[in-house]
Amino acid sequence: MDKFDKLTGIAAPMPLVNIDTDMIIPKQFLKTIKRSGLGVNLFDEMRYDRQGNEIADFVLNQPRYREAEILVAGDNFGCGSSREHAPWAIKDFGIRCVISTSFADIFYSNCFKNGILPIALPREAVDVLMADAEKGSNARMTVDLEAQTVTTSDGESFSFEVDAFKKHCLMNGLDDIGLTMEKAAAIDSFEAKASAERPWV
């Protein structure tokens, strides 16, 4: 997994609330058996017309946001389907950090497995960051995972919370499965105990 430590980049504003994973990556792109190549279809039905032409006013089609690496979004980002194709598409597009007031649970976990940092902040902070993102490509936002801060182009800084274990994995690009396998003995002994207590399982 790619590491995430510090990022300074363009932030794209998407103030819409309840952006669901069907919007992020529509169903027809879930038929892949690979993880790669989904960035071109990120937000497909908002981004292209039926003929495949770009819809000019969609945020990521605007010249100033085409290189965005941060997304500032409305409440409850990533709700709906558990499809990990959503973070795969976001990452493949080049976005490494999503900021909102809240995230749907499964999407939030999926981000950390893919080198993406989701940041939940209070509404007042997200409003300031949304306004900063609206300034376009001259404004660069900075996300510092080590310090747990997001800083606007004007230097206004907000602290965010992140689970220590998730932070550690993201900063070091660690593979969860490898870490869990180091605890194989604990799993073995739990399994033995559980199958004695609940042999029907």
């Binding site: 309840n18 990990e84 869990t180 399994e191």
Partner: protein, 467 residues
Amino acid sequence: MSPKTLYDKIWDAHVAHEAEDGTCLLYIDRHLVHEVTSPQAFEGLRMAGRGVRTPEKTIAVPDHNVPTTLDRANAETMTEDSRIQVEALDKNAREFGIHYYPVSDIRQGIVHIVGPEQGWTLPGMTVVCGDSHTATHGAFGALAHGIGTSEVEHVLATQTLIQKKSRNMKVEITGNLAPGVTAKDITLSVIGETGTAGGTGYVIEYCGEAIRDLSMEGRMTVCNMAIEGGARAGLIAPDEKTYQYVMGRPHAPKGAQWEAALAWWKTLYSDEDAHWDKVVTIKGEDIAPVVTWGTSPEDVLPITANVPAAEDFEGGKVGAAQRSLDYMGLTPGTPLREVEIDTVFIGSCTNGRIEDLRAAAEILKGKKIKVKRAMIVPGSGLVRAQAEEEGLADIFKEAGFEWRLAGCSMCLAMNPDQLSEGERCASTSNRNFEGRQGYKGRTHLMSPAMAAAAAVTGKLTDVREMM
């Protein structure tokens, strides 16, 4: 010992390892797998030279991509990419030695219908699947939730999941439901009340008289949509109805093991004075038959209401409501009962079980549909067989419904069953998101009885007027 909730008890029984910061390895009793969210996970195992740790606890069934038309044995009915995905599951299931129900098997169906039907899902278990509607299995008092593909790979490799505990939320539905009000109306009404993010960070336990009165099918409908309220999982404490449903199913315990299991299951309830982080109480009598008007499952209104205006909302929801109204092609102030419907879809993991089909048949008996097309897609081959045996299939066909084979069908349109641009559908599925049932398709969520009523009148309809 301090009092515990049902969630606390199941959680405690499955912690295989706990780190100092509270990060746990939660042991997984049942891992359900379908073709869409698993190929990359199996590929990951292969690349790392890993195997499936506990294949006997892993169950696979293709459902999202499979066509539901009667000619689906003909490979031509599937697009090439769908076929590749189904074939990949077939290959992975055989290679890794996991339980498998191929398309040709009568037991094939939607993963969340097959699991309980075959007795894989039992009270007190931890159940996961790379699918958000895994919450369905919570109806048995099992801790069940959706996971992403990386987690699918993690569970395949280790039979555990890295988790931190969620908070406890109690949703109590008191009293009795009025005639015409069903489990679907309960679950939609709860989301209407709490919003789609109201459950974020929580595991919900549904309780109260109206929940107790529901059949297992109804309870599955309620828990199925816990995810639509943002919750990690939904639970209902097991009781006699649960045991009766489970008993005798192919993978349910038998003999002495049944007795031992039953003794443990009977300890699975929330203690009287357990701590709840959040409590929501709704009177059963106050719940009406509901429909959704917008593109979020929280956009719920009683069928007797009018289409709202964007200004009726606050904050970010104003813009979202306007976008929904535009997408849905609705004018504020229009009575919902005047909204004309093109298509009716009855099925999905939310409402594709036998009781749902019976409810639809009751409305459709001796009637003809007034919509352009209508289909009933049973949740499994066994549900289909039972509906045929009970004579329900004849009622559907006589009314003008297409009677299909089992699969996810139009709930998510990853198969040939899709809405066309602007087509308006009365649907018993779980999501009304933009594009969910087909590009620019318009979805109104409701119960099977309400969807059947809409099929008969060609409009959104108050089912109580047809009873």
